[in-house]
Amino acid sequence: MLSLLSSWSLELKTIINLVDQGHQWKFHGGIHPPSRKERTKTLAISTIEMPQQLFLSLSQHIGQPAVPVVAIGDTVQKGQLLAKQDGFISAAVIAPTSGTISDICQYSNCHISGIETQTIVLTPDHLNTWRTKLPLTLTSDHQQILERIKLSGITGLGGAGFPAAVKLATKAAIEFLIINGAECEPYITSDDLLMQERGAGIVAGIEIMAQLLKPQRIIIAIEDNKPQAITAMKEAAKQSIIDIIVRAIPTLYPAGGEKQLIEVLTSKQVPSGKIPADIGVVVQNVATSHAIANAVLLDEPIVSRIVTVTGELVDKPGNYEVPIGTSIEQLLIHAQFKPQTQQKIIIGGPMMGFALQQINAPVIKSTNCVIAASINELPDAPPEQNCIRCGDCEQVCPANLLPQQLQWFAKDQDHKKLNDHNLFDCIECGACAFVCPSTIPLVQYYRVAKAEIRQTTEDKRQADRAKDRFEQRNIRLERDKQERLERSKKAAEVRQAAMSKNSDGDAVAAALARIKAKKAAAEESSDAPNKDRVAAAIARAKAKKSAQTTSPEPAAQESDDIDPQKARVAAAIARAKAKKAAQQQKIDSSNDQSTNADTIETIDPKKARIAAVIAKAKAKKTLELEQANNNGNDDKSVTVADTIETIDPKKARIAAVIAKAKAKKALEQQQSNNNNDQR
C-alpha cells in the first residue's frame, strides 16, 4: 500500500525533488532505548598520555588481515606503514607514533570472540616524530587520492570497520553521498563531539569524497538529540565550496544503521545482497570523513581516534583522542576506572557492542566507545522464558523480518526455513531482543544460526570439491595405468620388430615409439589446473623459506653442497631422529620417576620404527628391481612383474605399517603413562 503510494508519487516528483523539499521517510519499527549520552555529551575532546606500548592488531577491519612490512627491531616514525593491505577488502596498519617494533606476536584483539590475532607491538620513543609528509590537494588525480586513502589505512570509523577506499572506488553513478552523524546507539558521543569541534575537517573530507564520487546531493544526517552538532555542522557546511545539506533526523534506534539511514533520507531500500552503491548511494561516517581529510590534505594517516569512555564505573568519563593500539586497560585507568568484583566492559554501544573479555585488548580503529558498566547499570538478562508470540519484536524490526519465527527456526536449526525467512537480512541491531517480554536473547540465536549456516555451506562446498578431486584423481590413475600398459606393449612390439627386421626399419620404429612416448608425456603434463597449483605451491614454499631464513641449518646446508640429495635425506632422517630423541628427553625429564621399565619402553618403539623403515626400504628395493626387470622384458614378464609388485611389496609394506603402528601405540601408551604419572 505504502510502496504503491510512494511509487505513484515518484512519478510526479523525483526523489531528489522530494529530498530538496526536506522530505524524510520512515523505516519500519525502531525503538527508543534510554540514551544515557548526558554524561559525556558536553565534555570536550581531550588527549591521553602516550602509553608505554601500543598493540596494533593486523585485523582491525573487515576482510583479510594486513601483512607486516616491518620486522622486529625496526625503528619507525609516526605515520609510517607497518602492514600493508592484503587483497581488495583489507586495510593498512599505520604507526601511531615513532618508536621501535618490539614484537610481532599473537595478542588479544578488540573482538567479541576474544581470539588472539597477529599484532605488531610498538614501543614509543615519546618523540612523536612524523615521517615526511606529502600532502595532496583537492585537485589531485583521483587515482592518487584513492591510493592515499588506501595507504592511510582508513576504515569505517562508525563501528563496522569496512575499508573506506573500497566504497569510494565504486564505478557506479552516485546520486546521494550520505554522511552518517546519526550516532543512534546509547552512551556514544564521540561523533557528536567531533562534529561540534571539528566540523571544518569533516566538511573538507566531504569535499574530497564529492570529488571522487560526483554525487548529485550530499546529506549530513544527524539525530535531533544533538542540537549543538547540528548547528556546528550547518555552520561548517556554509563555509564549504559545495552544497551540503545538513539534515536533522528523528531520534529512533537504529536510524544510524546504513540501510535504515538510506531509507530515512531517500526512501530507497538497498536490495538484499546488494550494496548501497548499487542504488546510487554511498554512506560514510563523519569520523571517516574527517580521517580522509587528514590523510589527503595533511598526509596524516589514521594514527588516533576519538573514544567515548563512560559508564558508572569511571569517575572521569570523557571523549578522549587515543592513539590506535592503546590498551583499553590504560584508557580506563586514565578515566579513573573503579573496578568492582564483577562488571561489564562494553566496546561500542549497549545495543550492538560486545562485552570485552580481555581488558588488555587494544583500541582499534572501530572502537568508538568503551562503557565500564556496573552490573546494576547494564544487568544480565533474566533467564529466557517461553515466547508468547506477542509480536513486539516484529513491530520494532527495522529489517521488517519475523524475529519470532526466526527464533523458532533457529532453535530447530532449520536452515532452510531460516533462509526462507531471510535470516541474512538481519542487521543484528538488537531491537527485537530489547523489547522481548520473555527476555529471549534473539540476536544471539540469529548470530549462532548464521555462523552455523555459513559453516554448513562451506563444509558442503569443500565436500563437493573433495569429491570432484577424488573422482578426477581416480580417472587420472586409471588413464595412467592404461597408458603405461600401452607403452610397454608398444615398446615390446618395437623390440620384436627390431629383432626380425633390418636396421632401417628399426630406426623408424624407434622414432615412432619416441614420438608416442613424448605425446604421452605431454598429455600427462597437460593437467592444466595441476600445473597452476604446482606453481602456486612452489611460490608459497619459496615465500615460506625466505620467511624462515632466520633459522638456517648450516650443517645440513654444508653437506648439501657435497652431495645434495643424499645429504639432505640423511639430514632429514637425522633431524627426525633428533626430534624424537628430544621428545623422549622431554618426556623423561618431565617424569622424575621414570623407571627402568620406562627406558626400555622408550627404546622399544624406536627399534620397532627402525625395523619398519628397513622393511619399507626393502619393499621399495624389490619394487624397483622388478620395475627395472620389466623394462628389458616382454609382455609376459610385465604381467608377472605386476603380480609380484602386487604381492611382494604389499606384504612388505603391510609389515612395515604394522610395525610402525605398533611403535606408535607403544609411544602413545608411554606418553599417556607419563601423563598419568605427572598427575
Binding site: 590475532t117 563444509d459 604446482v534 632429514a572 623403515v613 619399507k616
Partner: protein, 185 residues
C-alpha cells in the same frame, strides 16, 4: 442372488479400472529419483579417508545403501549419522559415539624434514599435496580433507595433523563456551 452377482461384477470392474489407472499413472508420472546410494554419498563428508573400511566415500555410500552399518563414518560424526538415519528412516544406533565433536584437522608438512619422496602425494585421495621427486612437498590447506592417509606413508614422519585454528572469521558465536575471565585488578 443376481444382486450379489451384480455387486461382485461392479466391484471387480471398478477394481480393475482403478488398478489400471493407477498402474498407468505410476508409469506415466514416474518421479525420477536419485538412487539411495547417490543421496547417501551427498551426505558424506567426502574426506575419502577410508576409515569406514571402504576405499572412498562413494563405495561406503553404496555399502550403506545395501544395508551396511551407518555409523562407520568417523569424520562425519554424529551429524552425518543423524542425516543418514533420517534419510533411510532408521533409528540412530545407540552404540555410535554420539557425543564426540569432530574437530577438523588438516595435514601439515614440516618442510625442513621433507625429503621429497612423493609417498604422501601418492597417498592423498584428493590430490591436495604438491611437490615432485626430491623436492619439498606442501599441503594445499583448502583442499585437504583431513583424512590422515598421508601420515602413515611418510618415511621421516614429517606430516602432522593440526587442528584448523579458530579465527575471528570462523568463530561460531558460542559465547557460552567462554568462561568468566579472572583478572588481577
Amino acid at each position: 442372488m443376481s444382486f450379489l452377482l451384480i455387486a461382485v461384477i461392479i466391484l471387480t470392474g471398478l477394481g480393475l479400472v482403478f488398478g489400471l489407472l493407477l498402474g498407468y499413472a505410476s508409469i506415466k508420472f514416474k518421479v525420477k529419483e536419485d538412487p539411495v546410494a547417490e543421496k547417501i554419498d551427498l551426505l558424506l563428508p567426502q574426506t575419502q579417508c577410508g576409515q569406514c573400511g571402504y576405499p572412498g566415500c562413494r563405495p561406503y555410500a553404496e555399502a550403506v545403501a545395501n544395508g551396511d552399518d551407518i555409523t562407520k563414518c568417523a569424520p562425519g560424526g554424529k551429524a552425518t549419522i543423524e542425516q543418514i538415519a533420517d534419510l533411510l528412516s532408521v533409528p540412530i544406533p545407540d552404540n555410535s559415539n554420539n557425543d564426540d565433536i569432530v574437530i577438523k584437522k588438516v595435514a601439515f608438512i614440516i618442510e625442513d624434514d621433507c625429503i621429497g619422496c612423493t609417498k604422501c602425494i601418492q597417498a592423498c585421495p584428493v590430490d591436495a599435496i604438491l611437490g615432485t621427486t626430491k623436492q619439498m612437498h606442501t599441503v594445499i590447506i583448502d583442499e585437504c580433507t583431513g583424512c590422515d592417509l598421508c601420515v602413515e606413508p611418510c618415511p621421516v614422519d614429517c606430516i602432522e595433523m593440526i587442528p584448523v585454528a579458530q579465527t575471528t572469521k570462523n568463530w561460531n558465536w558460542q559465547l557460552n563456551a567462554i568462561p568468566f575471565k579472572q583478572l588481577e585488578s
